[in-house]
């Protein structure tokens, strides 16, 4: 049995576009569930999606618990042994209160990669496979969120390239979610049920393509 940790924000949590964190797609509808179904037996998929989660930042308004870096360590240790960690974060870092360019968000993703490499929660204390997933770009119309996310849609379109640069230089797997899904126009930054299906399928193919030797 191989374990995959899906570490993300509201789009991993499965928050319904235009809804609240409690309006959530069903277990089988959310992309980790879709991916688990696609991968079939032999894989254990762990969901760790928190609405509002940032890469490395305490949120002065929503709270310090939104910091993806501080929660990552206990999370990795809770779920070890892990064969693969998929991280899809970055959108919440683009909130106006953080005032960060896309490149800084990518640097923060790099931090998380270093933390995983340092903790070595893989089989036999090894570094697990790590996959950075850049979130789908936000739409221009983000409704009532336009002031909280002022300037974010433009930056969100730069995340894929910035993340890929980080993934390349740290030598980890990379996937651009924007290559298969777009955000729902209801709020402009959450993905809907069909998108969860597409993303789950695409990521299952990416996971398989890594190539896994027969388990001993």
């Amino acid at each position: 049995m191989r374990s995959i940790l899906c570490y993300g924000d509201s789009n991993t949590h499965g928050q319904v576009p235009g809804g609240t964190p409690l309006d959530r797609y069903g277990l089988a509808e959310r992309w980790p569930g879709v991916m688990a179904r696609e991968l079939g037996v032999g894989w254990h998929v762990i969901e760790e999606g928190l609405s509002g989660r940032t890469t490395v930042r305490d949120d002065p308004i929503e709270g310090a618990h939104k910091n993806g870096r501080t929660y990552l360590r206990p999370c990795l240790q809770s779920h070890a042994v892990l064969d693969l960690v998929i991280i899809m974060l970055g959108t919440n870092d683009l909130k106006a209160r953080f005032n960060q360019p896309a490149s800084e968000v990518a640097m923060a993703m790099g931090c998380l990669v270093y933390d995983i490499k340092e903790l070595k929660p893989g089989p036999g204390g090894s570094v697990p496979e790590i996959m950075i997933v850049s979130p789908p770009p936000m739409l221009d119309d983000i409704k009532e969120w336009r002031s909280i996310f002022a300037g974010a849609p433009e930056k969100s379109r730069q995340l894929a390239l910035e993340f890929e640069i980080i993934a390349d230089s740290l030598e980890v797997h990379f996937f651009d979610a924007g290559s298969v899904v777009t955000c729902d126009p209801l709020d402009g930054f959450h993905i809907n049920a069909p998108a969860h299906v597409s993303l789950g399928r695409a990521l299952a193919r990416e996971v398989e393509a890594i190539g896994w030797p027969d388990e001993r």
Partner: protein, 366 residues
């Protein structure tokens, strides 16, 4: 002192998104290692690449992604086996790179444009004419035409030009106007006038390289290579490496020898050089020649045997494949344990091999 882990990222492999081939300087050793495997094998998975190179899955992932973005490779359909996760084969994208190959032979010059898997996209044959002092202007035009045959937007995907030149003394004597000095000038001139890097190699070595890269020898790591041209040539390939030497000798048991036999019988040999799918029967002349040729091949193989136990022989030629296959059959019968294979680069094996040179120089490890 800053924590260097958080210094600006250094993305060596992010391909120039403007399409076209990456500059030579950024192609890392590991990238060449992966490309070498891909040029040596068809349909290989990322897992196999990792196992054969010793690179980690993540490193392979990064390299494969960048090569994919560069358009050099393409992902195949996932293959679902009975057990384990499906595998995804990767292979070269035929449209990923192009190359021009030129061979200078004793009767003609051939210019080909091939794609990344060695399919000929353009082919020009330039005869040496006795009436003209030189075919040099036509030569340059033929190279320019091979490039012009490729749509303009793909010109940035041309890896270079490979030039296959005769090397041994006997072959040089047969080739009109052939002289080492002239050949030396040729590389520089083509580079200057056509504007692509030119790679030069001995023509027999190039032909062997062609069969290794694009032809029947793709899966062979060790074999003895024979080239049947005007004369018979040979090369030894061990662990995918062609032993190249200027001291190699050729034997007068080639097509020129057959021509003599045919004339001796009072017949016309002209069809020998017409490059048709098959030769007419040349009767006794052909039988006598074939015997002589086989004797020479057998003696070369036997001479090698105490040193290298080579089990595979590849025979390459512009002679019809039926003729080569017949020779291979005879050879196998005469030498049990030897597997003789006729090369499958029928049109211009030397020129196609020459076209492989820019690929090996730019994409493979030494």
């Amino acid at each position: 002192m800053p924590d260097m882990r958080f210094a600006p990222p250094n993305p060596l492999r992010i391909a120039d998104r403007a399409s076209g081939l990456n500059a030579v300087s950024v192609r890392s050793y590991n990238e060449r290692l992966v490309l070498s495997l891909l040029l040596q094998s068809k349909d290989i998975t990322r897992l196999e690449i990792g196992e054969r190179t010793g690179l980690s899955a993540q490193t392979v992932s990064v390299i494969v992604r960048s090569l994919e973005q560069e358009g050099l490779i393409a992902k195949g359909e996932a293959q679902r086996g009975r057990v384990g996760p499906p595998t995804v084969p990767i292979s070269l994208n035929p449209e990923g790179a192009y190359s021009v190959g030129i061979s200078v032979g004793h009767r003609q010059v051939e210019v080909v444009l091939v794609d990344f898997v060695g399919s000929i996209r353009s082919h020009t044959v330039l005869p040496f004419s006795a009436a003209q002092d030189t075919n040099h202007p036509q030569f340059m035009t033929a190279i320019a035409k091979a490039i012009a045959d490729l749509p303009r937007h793909l010109h940035s995907r041309i890896a270079g030009i490979g030039l296959a030149l005769p090397g041994d003394e006997a072959e040089l004597e047969l080739t009109p106007k052939a002289a080492r000095e002239r050949f030396d000038a040729l590389q520089e001139e083509v580079e200057r006038e056509i504007g692509y890097p030119v790679y030069v190699q001995n023509d027999i070595t190039a032909a062997a390289g062609g069969e290794s890269m694009f032809g029947v020898a793709k899966h062979l790591s060790d074999y003895l290579f024979f080239y049947l041209g005007a004369r018979l040539h040979s090369r030894l390939i061990l662990n995918h490496q062609i032993y190249n030497t200027t001291a190699a000798v050729s034997f007068d048991v080639g097509i020129l020898r057959l021509e003599q036999e045919i004339r001796k019988n009072g017949n016309s040999p002209s069809e020998l050089w017409e490059r048709r799918a098959d030769w007419p029967s040349f009767g006794d002349a052909e039988i006598a020649w074939q015997r002589e040729l086989l004797e020479q091949m057998k003696s070369s193989i036997a001479a090698l045997k105490p040193f290298v136990p080579v089990a595979s022989v590849v025979l390459s030629s512009y002679a019809p494949q039926a003729v080569c296959k017949a020779i291979c059959r005879e050879l196998e019968q005469a030498m049990p344990g030897i597997s003789a294979i006729a090369g499958n680069i029928e049109r211009s094996p030397k020129a196609v091999g020459a076209a492989g040179l820019p690929f090996s120089s730019r994409f493979m490890v030494e």
